[in-house]
């Protein structure tokens, strides 16, 4: 589960996570672990999921987002999904995620 650290960046109090090409159950545990370590270590308030490289996402991706949202929302943090392709955007909106995530194409 070794993840390159350049996929994670902390800018101000935003944790930016560059999502992989395919977001599925196989890679979910690694992303979760890395993200949670950074959320604990640093003073992260908001989380930005960057979907620039992502061409595929299944329901495991929703799990990652919901899980991180739960961790930071109690401290007033927000979750963003940026550079979302048409398909990923449709999946996020259709499954009701737009109520907890700000989706930006």
């Amino acid at each position: 589960m070794e993840k390159k650290m350049e996929e994670y960046a902390i800018i101000d109090n935003y944790l930016c996570i560059r999502m992989p090409r395919e977001v599925d159950h196989h890679g979910a545990a690694g992303i979760r672990e890395c993200a949670d370590r950074l959320i604990l270590d640093d003073k992260v308030k908001n989380i930005v999921f960057d979907f620039t490289d992502t061409t595929f996402m299944d329901s495991s991706g929703l799990g990652i987002i919901i899980g991180r949202y739960r961790k930071i929302s109690c401290f007033g943090g927000k979750v963003y999904a940026i550079n979302v392709s048409e398909r990923i955007g449709r999946i996020l909106r259709a499954s009701g995620m737009s109520s907890i995530v700000e989706i930006l194409a």
């Binding site: 595929f56 329901s59 929703l62 799990g63």
Partner: protein, 196 residues
Amino acid sequence: MKICLERKRQRSKCTAAKGLGLYMEKECAKTNAAQTAANEICMEFDAISENEGLARVVIAAFLSRIDPTVDEIEDVKTAVSEAVTNAVIHGYGERGGRVVMRARLSAERELSVEISDRGVGIADVEQAMQPLFTTGAANERSGMGFSFMEAFMDRLEVESSIGEGTCVHMWKSFAGRQDETAPILQAAVWNRSGRA
């Protein structure tokens, strides 16, 4: 991992000289472009998360010859990914086992995919298929797996018995364009604490 390929193909009856044989077959295929020959594959693989991606690649390659749209391919890949993930996580509890994927394309351009495991089985299939129902909350499963399969495919059938395993059977027709993925998924609305 074992991959076995079964292939049924209607050989065009071109009884030309050997050298011409291939050429004639190609010509026949061209004129019959609208009607594709039926084809079936069966693949058995270890129930490890790595193979979820493999199953997706295989189903996409299998579909490619009927020239589907990018969206159609992604729909099928997503549904297959959900079914295989279910087998790996829930069927075998991530302790390994074997998953069988059987895909069939009919001459009428209808895809049928069957994904089966010999895992623990599902006690209440109807409950399991409810949007947001999950037994894997600790592992941050969203409970949307079956909803995704339902939304992205035309038809879904789940057969399961405790201790014997689960078989997920899905169909999708590539004859005409339908665009009704959204309504089924719209059941979910997460509130501020991230719960439905």
